[in-house]
């Protein structure tokens, strides 16, 4: 048995909204946000007045621009905080009425209180959601890559099933699933494959699927009914836009079947596969999904861009995510995130110690996978929040 997958002895727990709001550090943080917002507004107003009366400005143009940007960034959150405060006030007033002599009034107050409590819950959730900063990549589409790991044919068969699972997941969410590469094995199964997935929140959700997936079952070819463990790796690369990432055509070598012989009218082939090598890094992408060579080239370029962009991002973000349990990024790539045990019919995600049953159902890529994925998101959000609050606490102690 391998070493434990994380250092925590106690399995992580998803705190409820109420519990989170019970934390002093959260309340402190929200106060800090409000204060920062007001300070910025005050500075901007002062700046406007100074300009009118042509006084010497107390803030530089750059500082003012930064404050303007801060104000528009914080405005939605501050709005929600204020709404929450207003509702809490309303609740306090309603609770006074609960002690009133008039039973009709008491009944009305109870209804109002229930409504208030619900609104407060909703607003608290809204505040929490707004506190989590959105990653730039969260808005993008993605390239999904699957690669068979340890375990020979079993690993390749499992890779095929996992690829199918994500195809189902994409359909479940109404995302497009466009296969770019698909390399099968002669003995059956999938060596590696990649697909371009696009649709709302696709990267945001799929990023939690990256890592090593493990399967434990008795292979079909196994004669002595021994249990085998095999692995496969899932990589999720955000798809960059044209502007944010460009590749120099001179850095590319493009290989096709047409390269041998005279090409052109001399030859008729149906092998329109295209392979592109990025010479400076040695990164390769290929595609034979289409009958048109041009389309294969476009898809291979898409896959290549995502790989190169992924490499660039890894450099930038590997430091940031080191402390987290729900890993997304470099360390996540080699970390065993999930085990699919057929004999016991269970799937366990090791990052959040969550177990669900019905492996066949899970592999359809529908509700069961979705539930687990949502839980991962919630945990990740919580971790981000804790980090935010933790940083804030440290800042406060330091000052």
């Amino acid at each position: 048995m391998s070493a434990p997958f994380n250092n925590m002895v106690i399995p992580p727990r998803l705190l409820s909204v109420d519990e989170l709001f019970g934390h002093r550090s959260l309340r402190d943080y929200l106060k800090k946000v409000e204060t920062e917002y007001s300070d910025c507004l005050r500075a901007l107003n002062r700046g406007a007045v100074e300009e009118e009366v042509e006084e010497q400005p107390s803030c530089s143009e750059d500082e003012l621009r930064a404050k303007r940007s801060k104000v528009s960034q914080l405005a939605p959150l501050v709005q929600s905080i204020r709404e929450l405060e207003a509702k809490s006030q309303e609740l306090a007033e309603t609770e006074v009425l609960l002690k009133d002599e008039d039973p009709a009034l008491r009944e009305l107050a109870e209804l109002e209180r229930d409504g208030c409590l619900q609104d407060i819950q909703d607003l608290r959730q809204k505040v929490l959601d707004q506190l989590i900063p959105e990653e730039e990549a969260d808005l993008s589409d993605l390239i999904l890559e699957v690669t068979a790991g340890v375990g020979g044919q079993e690993a390749m068969l499992f890779t095929d099933e996992v690829f199918d699972m994500y195809h189902g997941f994409a359909q479940h969410h109404g995302w497009s699933f466009d296969v770019l590469e698909h390399v099968t094995s002669e003995i059956g199964g999938l060596r590696h494959a990649s697909a371009s997935i696009s649709g709302p929140q696709s990267y945001k959700r799929m990023k939690f699927e990256a890592g090593v997936h493990r399967v434990q079952r008795v292979p079909k070819t196994e004669k002595q009914s021994r249990m085998h463990t095999s692995t496969m790796t899932v990589a999720v690369l955000p798809q960059p836009t044209e502007i944010s990432f460009t590749i120099n055509p001179k850095d590319l070598r493009i290989d096709t079947m047409r390269a041998s012989g005279a090409g052109g009218q001399h030859v008729n082939t149906t092998d329109s596969a295209v392979r592109i090598v990025h010479l400076p890094t040695g990164v390769v992408a290929e595609c034979q999904q289409e009958r048109s060579q041009l389309k294969n080239k476009e898809k291979a370029m898409k896959a290549l861009r995502a790989k190169l962009y992924g490499m660039k991002l890894e450099e930038e973000t590997s430091k940031r995510y080191n402390q987290r349990k729900v890993q997304i990024g470099t360390r996540g790539r080699s970390e065993k995130i999930r085990t699919y045990n057929f004999a016991q019919d269970r799937i366990t995600d090791h990052r959040i110690s969550m177990t669900v049953h019905d492996v066949r159902g899970f592999l359809l890529g529908e509700e069961l996978l979705d539930e687990m994925n949502c839980s991962l998101q919630e945990f990740s959000n919580q971790e981000t929040l804790m980090e935010l609050l933790g940083d804030n606490d440290q800042d406060q102690e330091a000052s």
């Binding site: 052109g264 001399h266 082939t269 999904q289 289409e290 048109s292």
Partner: protein, 346 residues
């Protein structure tokens, strides 16, 4: 199970005669013993194995790709890779199996896959294919790209409000791939296409209809070698002249693979002794059909660009050789020339 019955069962009868194009295949197929389609159920995956092996045994080129494309097409997909695991492992119906056997048998006669499944993709389009009309090659996708880049620039530079009629002329349209791609990408373009083959004219017309582009495309049955004046009578000056003319050297015709030799129209391939017969004719005609500063775009043999440049400089004063562009494999493949107004100078 299938493999044994095939090896035991079939025998190929000697050399076959070469008959009229298109009909040769069916006669030969009956002459050569082909395994009967299986009585019991067979999955697509099993069928792929069977036919890949058979193609290989019979020396059919690209055995794996051939089987993959035919099976995929039958199951409604473009390639084997886009078929899910479930499609591949499901047992095929009796009808499907028979259709598959029929199609693969055609391939045994070296009929190109594109003719077997009667379609192929070109850029974003799926076009009908039919022997002996020339099957578009991947290089030609790049030719269209070159023309599009220039035409798009022209559209961009056109004055606002001015009715800028954009027309192009294609010589030797074949299945219509080039003209239809251009029309499909440029809604304001009108095109005129010619071919000396009635079969090509008919097929281009069919493809145009299927794609809903027939209103912007005029197609004529004209042989530029025999009747160049007919071209001049057709149309007012065009912005672009495009062609993938027959450019093979006559001596190269003999070494062509059976797929081409037995099934594609030789007049779509044979460019004469130096491969330039039709090209010279087109370039001679070009200044008369092109508008001022209009461009001619040709796909040629890699040996041609140098020769064409020299010939044009010596023989066609009104054409300026602009540049040679290379294809995806790095071969010099495309010639771009421009009509210059000799009164005004270069």
């Amino acid at each position: 199970m299938w493999r044994r019955s095939f090896s035991a069962g079939y025998r190929c009868l000697g050399r076959r005669r070469i008959g009229p194009k298109g009909t040769w295949a069916s006669r030969a197929a009956r002459a050569c013993s082909v395994p009967a389609s299986p009585a019991g159920g067979i999955s697509a995956l099993q069928a792929l194995d069977v036919w890949e092996e058979l193609f290989e045994e019979r020396g059919v080129s690209e055995p794996k790709h051939s089987a993959d494309h035919i099976v995929a097409h039958l199951l409604g997909a473009k390639t084997r890779e886009s078929l899910g695991r479930r499609n591949l492992t499901e047992i095929l119906s009796r009808e499907r199996t028979e259709q598959l056997w029929e199609l693969c048998t055609r391939r045994l006669s070296r009929m190109p896959v594109q003719y077997v499944i009667e379609q192929w993709d070109f850029r974003d389009l799926t076009l009908k294919m039919r022997p002996p009309v020339f099957i578009p090659r991947p290089e030609t996708e790049e030719l269209v790209e070159l023309v599009l880049m220039d035409l798009e620039k022209t559209c961009g530079q056109a004055e606002e409000g001015a009715d800028a009629p954009l027309t192009c002329l294609e010589v030797g349209c074949g299945s219509g791939a080039i003209s239809l791609s251009l029309l499909s990408s440029l809604p304001q373009l009108k095109a005129i296409a010619l071919d000396r083959s009635q079969d090509a004219v008919d097929l281009t017309r069919e493809n145009a209809s299927s794609l809903g582009l027939q209103d912007r495309l005029q197609i004529y049955h004209i042989d530029v070698m025999k009747d160049p004046e007919a071209v001049l009578r057709l149309c007012s000056p065009v912005s672009a002249l495009v062609s993938n003319p027959p450019y093979l050297f006559s001596e190269d015709m003999l070494s062509l693979e059976p797929e081409i030799l037995r099934f594609e129209d030789p007049s779509a391939l044979d460019g004469g002794q130096d491969g330039l017969d039709v090209i010279r004719q087109i370039l001679t005609m070009a200044p008369k059909v092109l508008s001022d500063h209009g461009r001619a775009y040709l796909e040629v043999d890699p040996r041609h660009p140098r020769l064409i440049r020299r010939w044009v400089e010596a023989n066609v004063e009104e054409l300026r050789y602009v540049e040679t562009r290379h294809d995806i494999t790095g071969r010099p493949r495309f010639c771009i020339l421009q009509k210059r107004d000799i009164r005004k100078g270069p």
